[in-house]
């Protein structure tokens, strides 16, 4: 044993180390594939192939027939039908798609600012912070399509209120009209207030992401700023905001996808799927994906123009 130890020269040691590292790298490569294996399986069988199939379906008219499916190639007819002639009892695919797109354009900035604002507040030190934080994520937990349907089908609360003759106690719209504000602004504001609960529900995850990113800002920046005599306002604009911007893209993408996923568009597609209009629903799903990709590209372009998402300290 002793002799062996004596004979290993420094060069040999280094080579041993190299050998070990090479074998470690190999192990890493093998293990990475092993780790990814379940996901790769899922990706192949539950994502890529279904995706191609649904792309193919979107050009066909599919009719179920005793144990098999009749396929009839109809080219772009499904897409044209979805955009031009599709109607439901109360609305249509085109209308809902356009409203959702505009909703995203208007509401996304509001949602971002709101959730950043709340995240900054929740990050401050005050009594009962833990409770308030816990309450703010309650809508995320209660956000369920089934519950929404159960509550929406007959709004018992409103019914009871109307039965007892209590309408709106404080008519905000009326007061705002009295001040001579532009009507479209008023509808925008009252619309936001009416949907405050929905906004809170949508904002849950963005608040979470912003809160996490605020907390990853090094504390010494704030300490230095305090010593220099900066106010809280200045610290927000010069430290918090620049450090949070790289994560704005993540939050935006999440909020965008989430809005579309919970929108009427998504509901129309699943309705069509349920009544076995398979070709049509596939075409609609592809239009939906196309819209999201275009919106993401636009957002990416804007982010590049405004240099959002680049690290504040790299230049």
């Amino acid at each position: 044993m002793k002799k062996n130890k004596m004979t290993t020269t420094p060069i040999e040691k280094q080579e041993n180390r190299k050998k070990y590292l090479v074998s470690y790298k190999k192990e890493k490569l093998i293990m990475s594939i092993v780790f990814l294996l379940p996901w790769l399986f899922g990706l192949a069988f539950l994502f890529v192939i279904p995706l191609f199939r649904s792309f193919r379906y979107s050009f066909f008219n599919l009719t179920p027939q005793s144990g098999q499916i009749l396929e009839e190639f109809i080219g772009f007819d499904n897409y044209l039908y979805a955009i031009n002639t599709h109607v439901t009892t109360t609305s249509s695919f085109k209308v809902e798609l356009l409203t959702t797109t505009f909703d995203v354009a208007i509401n996304l900035p509001v949602l971002l600012i709101f959730s950043l604002f709340i995240a900054v507040m929740l990050n401050m030190k005050f009594k009962g912070r833990a409770i308030v934080r816990a309450i703010f994520f309650v809508p995320v937990i209660l956000n369920s399509a089934a519950v929404a349907t159960a509550l929406g089908s007959g709004d018992a609360i409103n019914a009871i209120l109307e039965q007892s003759g209590i309408g709106t106690i404080f008519d905000l719209e009326f007061y705002l009209l009295q001040t001579g504000m532009a009507p479209f602004l008023i509808t925008f504001i009252t619309g936001l207030i009416d949907r405050i609960y929905d906004i809170l529900a949508l904002a849950g995850v963005p608040i979470l992401l912003f809160l996490a990113s605020i907390q990853s800002i090094p504390k010494h920046l704030y300490e230095a700023a305090k010593i220099e005599g900066a106010t809280g306002y200045e610290m927000f604009w010069l430290i918090t905001l620049p450090n949070v911007t790289p994560h704005i893209i993540t939050v935006t993408v999440f909020a965008l996808v989430d809005t579309f996923l919970t929108s009427p568009v998504s509901r129309i597609i699943s309705d069509e799927l349920n009544v076995q209009h398979w070709g049509l629903s596939s075409a609609m799903a592809w239009i939906y994906v196309g819209t999201i990709v275009v919106l993401l590209l636009i957002i990416g372009g804007i982010a590049k123009l405004l240099k959002i998402g680049e690290s504040h300290y790299e230049n």
Partner: protein
């Protein structure tokens, strides 16, 4: 005498004036006022928003606790006149509550564990075991987030319909997946469950944020890659585990889409979401078929407000277990955000 008083007041005014002219005192005062204003604005705003969040739930609980006869009493708006759990009993009958609750909890728990396992492994591979092309694969993860489930579920439906494991079938074991919870487990286990892409994303950024020294010291101690992952990295990723676990559980609990497409909820295997949806769509029919109508008088169930009241109470019954569970995990959930790193 007069001049004395005058002098006194003059001095007083002078001293007050001095105080206002002193820059240090001024500064301190303005800071104090600012802090106070900030605190009061914050308190009002947060208290208001908390109220908005909690109000519907509190109201639902109050509604659930009123006697059914109170529906016809216009004087009862907020506080019940006669307290009773009759509404809850009826809603529980409509939902087939015991069985549905057990099944939903089982489904959510198992699929949560499968989701955590598959997405944590994938997230670790994407952040720490990089190889050529892993970035391209990660773009596919983003794609799985963007593509709506509706684009995929038809082909997935055909898969599950035709799915058989031949040699097990010979032994008389039923391996069909359609109409079985197995379909959900398979999706979760293969990392294609409800929003698995987002979970992979969260785990990836979390593992990326852990210090490199952890991994290096594990290598020096001779740990294998799996050992490094299992005994060094995973215990440090508790924050991400709690976050992902909570979301996976809650989203599975609330899911109505996959459960509907794959026909998981059946008469023998009722699930809360589907029961609630069916009940809400035809409340009178479900009251009739479950025999709940016999419990109350006609003057009550003829009132449409009562039907919507029961669907409200049913919704409350579905959410209540989640709320109670959240009460217990909320502390570690909120702390997990504290531990930084959901975003890289």
């Amino acid at each position: 005498m007069k001049t004395k008083i005058m002098n006194y007041f003059k001095n007083l005014i002078q001293s007050i004036r001095n105080k206002f002219n002193d820059p240090v005192v001024n500064m301190r005062r303005s800071r104090k006022i600012q802090a106070f204003a900030m605190a009061s604005v914050r308190t009002i705003l947060l208290a208001g928003l908390c109220f908005v969040i909690l109000f519907p739930t509190i109201q639902q609980i109050l509604q659930a606790l009123r006697a059914p006869q109170d529906v016809n009493n216009p004087a009862v708006i907020w506080i019940p006149e006669t307290w009773s759990v009759m509404n809850i009993k009826i809603a529980a009958m409509v939902l087939d509550y015991k069985a549905a609750l057990f099944n939903t909890a089982k489904l959510s728990f198992i699929s949560m564990f499968l989701q955590i396992a598959s997405t944590a492994l994938a997230g670790y591979a994407f952040s720490r075991l990089k190889f050529k092309g892993s970035n391209i694969l990660f773009i596919l993860v983003i794609l799985t987030i963007i593509v709506p489930p509706q684009a995929l579920s038809l082909a997935q439906y055909f898969y599950f319909r035709d799915f058989r494991i031949g040699f097990l079938e010979w032994f008389g074991i039923d391996t069909r997946l359609l109409g079985k919870e197995g379909a959900i487990y398979l999706m979760s286990g293969l990392g294609m469950g409800i929003r698995s892409g987002i979970f992979i994303y969260i785990f990836r950024s979390f593992f990326k944020g852990l210090p490199k020294e952890l991994e290096e010291s594990a290598i020096i101690d001779g740990a294998s890659v799996f050992r490094t992952f299992w005994s060094v990295m995973l215990p440090n990723a508790r924050g991400a585990l709690v976050t992902v676990g909570l979301f996976a559980f809650v989203w599975q609990w609330n899911d109505a889409y996959y459960v509907k497409i794959f026909e998981v909820s059946t008469a023998e295997f009722p699930l809360l979401t589907m029961r609630l949806l069916n009940a809400a769509e035809g409340m009178y029919a479900s009251l009739f078929y479950t025999g709940a109508l016999n419990l109350i008088g006609q003057d009550v169930w003829a009132n449409p407000v009562f039907l919507s009241l029961i669907s409200n109470v049913s919704a409350l019954l579905m959410m209540l277990p989640l709320l109670i569970m959240y009460l217990f995990v909320q502390k570690s959930f909120v702390e997990s955000i504290e531990r930084t790193g959901i975003v890289g």
